[in-house]
Amino acid sequence: MISPEEFQATARRILEEISTVIVGQEAVARGVLIALVGGGHVLLEGVPGLGKTSLVRAFAGALDLQFGRIQFTPDLMPADITGTSIVSEDEMGRRSLSFQKGPIFANIVLADEINRATPKTQSALLEAMQECTVTAGTTSHPLPAPFFVLATQNPIEMEGTYPLPEAQLDRFFFKLVITYPYRGELATIVRRTGSGEMPVVRGVAGGETLLAMSRLAREVPMASHVLDYAVRIVLATQPNSPDVPEVTRKYIRIGASPRGAQAIALAGRIGSLLDGRYNLSYDDVRAAVHPALRHRISLNFEAQTHGITTDTVLDEIVQTVREVPN
């Protein structure tokens, strides 16, 4: 069992190592760490060149975990991800089918430009992301623990892409949006990369530490009224629920699933530990709403035509839902 102080110190060390490679993007790095501690997967969205892949690599290095990368392309097949059974011949000359593990068998899997693969290939990740197993034929192969999928996608380039199905989007713990760096950050990036010497990320925590942190985070006490607040926020995204905000009825087609509430609660707990507190608070819930729900709600056509984003809708919902119900 890890202590809260050790939890906080470990997280601080990880983020410091990440910051040696990634300039700025503290919120994204914190979000990725929260998702990793929570045992969830992260969908990173951002235009090309913002360091999505570098961020994932940095985390893999800081956590001293096995890293696998899959470049999603339209012709990528599911077996290219999960692996396949091949005929192998032993020393005695007997032939048998043996399972050749794919790149998904790693602790941290980078699914780069995941939306470029066909839905058939994308669905190959469903079982792995939810159950941490891969089934080939009649045999299920467990994935190493911890197992994380860090996927990236480009929101701008729509040509030749396949939007992720809702079922797979729901399996991502967080969806983090990487924005452009500020002026100072950009200058630092240019200065740091111009020297030709790329910093090396040291491993400061292992898989066991990460799992211990995850166990500790699940012990953070959570009061009923705070949990109720998180639940009401999730319910407020469902247009068929009673007493939902007007923005929900107007713009949301599909609301968040129970996984959204789970993600908010767990992310809030981890966030409180990161902040040196031992309980879930309203602020923790609010901080987890956007990354946990922005990919779990689907906007309707009217919202799209009006340029409404999920973040805008969530902002309105957070403002509408009160901490204490009426």
Binding site: M1, I2, S3, P4, E5, E6, Q8, L216, E219, V220, P221, M222, A223, S224, H225, V226, L227, D228, V231, S272, G276, R277, Y278, N279, L280, S281, Y282, D283, D284, E323, V324, P325, N326
Partner: protein, 600 residues
């Protein structure tokens, strides 16, 4: 299932109502309590180490909320009192007391019940403290999630180190050496540590949380309380109670105890009998009182009675000779209005007498009373003084106008004005005898005398007056004016007269109530003045200087001057001291007025 749903809905409704009551206070959200989704059992865990430290805050919060709740309910009750007594008084003069006091008592009881039933729970208190001191829900979580069997000592942060420092504290499970140190008593698992920190934070909180006092609420409640008290004090009387006809004890006036019991009735008093000429009589209906003083000389200026209103259209049947015109003038300014009708009352002869009598009333004219001396500047001056503030309501006051110093002219001031606003039905009325040195339609502004001079021209002026339909406004207006003057002179404030319910105009014999009342056919106003002082006020004008003669609508019998014994009811109060100082005949007259024919 249905019952549970009903209970839940009732609970929700109650909480919303209380939240509405507590709106814009610092304690509103406390009323919302624990979410229904996962009810907290913190209140039952009395062995929780956080319970005892939170209790003082709970009591403090309860007190604060009680103050706010009670203050607002009291304010609501007092506002209701003010509204009823001030605003609705005219509309509903005889509002039953139960309608006045039942909502007030209900408000107070409801507030008390809410105070008791909405006692903040420990969980609410903890959450309120979390919110107030930005503790990030530490106390609420600790109170709810700490195992109840956990003893406080196991959570104790050692005294040498009052607070657990997160950065340096270590878990005894991972750092045994730290556990053996006196400085570290680290609970594990995480829930206990969280409770320990919450306990430490709670011990650091100030008590009371703040010194904020509910001064605003208390002040508002006091103001409304005083307003309600005074409005109640001067409010309309209670519902009328029946009294035996014809035998109303005049000795209700305390001062009359020493007076002769022989009470002159209307019939026995000279001049009080209705005229034999039917055409000259004013048809009196219920609530109508027509003063018919028997002798002008004896009673002139001594007192004045303003009788209750006359139904619309009742006037105009013909002037009633009123030999007591100067002495006992009835009716408010409104009655003057009625002058439009009651002007009827003024056959020229009587009218002249009345004018003379009321003209004296330069003083009383301002008050709507008869003057004591005809054209005396002495009398006139106070009238003018009192009347000046209201330049629009020129009263009698011929004293200032030497030309109109004749008593006969002065008295009609109000009546003329009333008439003028009433539509000039009194053109042929008693006012016609008045003189207006300033011309018919050009009353000197602010000069009572001049306007009283116009009284004589009242008929003329009234001829230019608007339609009769405005009589109500006119009467009320003049009534208020007269009242104002009456106050200034007598030093007594009759709230009813202030409200313009009683006309104070020195209308001649048209001792009629305000036309507004007259048209409604209800008895509302009766005022008797003794020595120029409003001796008889409304039923609820319970001035300490006044003693009740008869409650509202309980003095039976025909009004003075009322023909054919038609019933008339009066109300009012007579000052004890004043009535005892009056000559016996005047006392008898007053008694006769209120007795309504109960023997002489």
């Amino acid at each position: 299932m249905a019952r549970e749903d009903l209970t839940r809905r009732a609970h929700t409704t109650l909480r919303r109502a209380v939240a509405l009551i507590m709106a814009r206070s610092d304690y509103q959200y406390l009323l919302l309590g624990a979410p229904r989704l996962l009810p907290a059992a913190a209140d039952r865990a009395n062995d929780n180490p956080l319970v005892e430290p939170i209790r003082p805050y709970r009591r403090w919060l309860w007190r604060q909320r009680s103050i706010v709740t009670l203050a607002r309910f009291l304010g609501l009750a007092m506002a209701y009192l003010v509204a009823v007594n001030v605003l609705l008084r005219d509309a509903v003069p005889s509002l039953p007391p139960i309608l006045i006091w039942f909502p007030v008592i209900a408000c107070v009881l409801a507030g008390a019940w809410l105070v008791r039933s909405n006692r903040p729970s420990l969980a609410e208190t903890a959450r309120w403290l979390d919110r107030e001191f930005e503790l990030h829900e530490q106390l609420g979580t600790a109170l709810e999630c700490t195992p109840s069997q956990l003893q406080g000592q196991s959570l104790v942060i050692h005294h040498p180190r009052p607070i657990v420092h997160p950065a340096t504290a270590v878990s005894p499970t991972t750092r045994p050496e730290a556990a053996s140190s006196a400085g570290y008593v680290q609970p594990d698992p995480l829930a206990q540590r969280q409770a320990a920190r919450a306990l430490a934070r709670l011990q650091q909180l100030p008590y009371p949380p703040w010194q904020k006092r509910q001064r605003g609420s208390v002040l508002l409640a006091l103001v409304l309380l005083l307003a309600g008290f005074f409005s109640t004090r001067y409010a309309a009387p209670a519902a009328p109670t029946a009294a035996p006809q014809g035998s109303y004890p005049l000795t209700q006036a305390r001062s009359t105890g020493s007076l002769p019991q022989a009470i002159p009735t209307q019939a026995s008093l000279a001049g009080l009998s209705p005229s034999a000429d039917g055409s000259a009589k004013v048809p009196a209906t219920k609530g109508d009182t027509h003063a018919s003083p028997p002798a002008q000389s004896s009673l002139s200026g001594s007192f004045q009675i303003r009788s209750s209103p006359q139904p619309a259209g009742s006037g105009g049947t013909g002037p009633a000779p009123n030999p007591l015109a100067g002495s006992l003038t009835g009716g408010s300014a409104g009655s003057t209005v009625n002058g439009a009708r009651s002007s009827n009352a003024g056959p020229s002869g009587a009218a002249q007498q009345l004018q003379a009598g009321s003209g004296n009333g330069s003083k009383s004219g301002a008050q709507g009373q008869t003057g004591q001396s005809t054209g005396s500047g002495k009398n006139g001056s106070p009238a003018n003084q009192s009347g000046q503030p209201n330049a629009q309501q020129p009263q009698s006051g011929p004293s200032q106008n030497p030309q109109t110093g004749s008593p006969a002219q002065g008295s009609k001031t109000q009546s003329s004005q009333d008439q003028s606003q009433q539509g000039g039905q009194q053109t042929s009325g008693p006012n016609t005898s008045g003189k207006n040195p300033f011309g018919e339609d050009t009353p000197p502004p602010g000069t009572k005398g001049s306007q009283s001079g116009q009284n004589g021209q009242g008929g003329t002026k009234s001829a230019h007056a608007p339609a009769q339909g405005q009589s109500s406004a006119a009467s009320s207006q003049s009534g208020s004016t007269g009242n104002g003057s009456g106050q200034s002179e007598n030093g007594l404030q009759d709230p009813r007269t202030q409200r313009g319910n009683t006309g104070s105009g020195t209308g001649p014999t048209q001792n009629r109530p305000g036309s507004q009342q007259a048209e409604s056919g209800q008895v509302k106003v009766t005022q008797v003045t003794v020595n120029g002082k409003p001796a008889i006020g409304s039923g609820n004008a319970q001035s300490p200087d006044l003693v009740p003669v008869a409650p509202y609508e309980v003095a039976p019998g025909p009004g003075l001057g009322a023909p054919n014994g038609e019933s008339s009811t009066v109300e009012g109060y007579v000052p004890e001291a004043d009535i005892s100082s009056l000559p016996p005949d005047e006392q008898a007259l007053i008694r006769a007025y209120f007795n309504g024919g109960s023997g002489s």
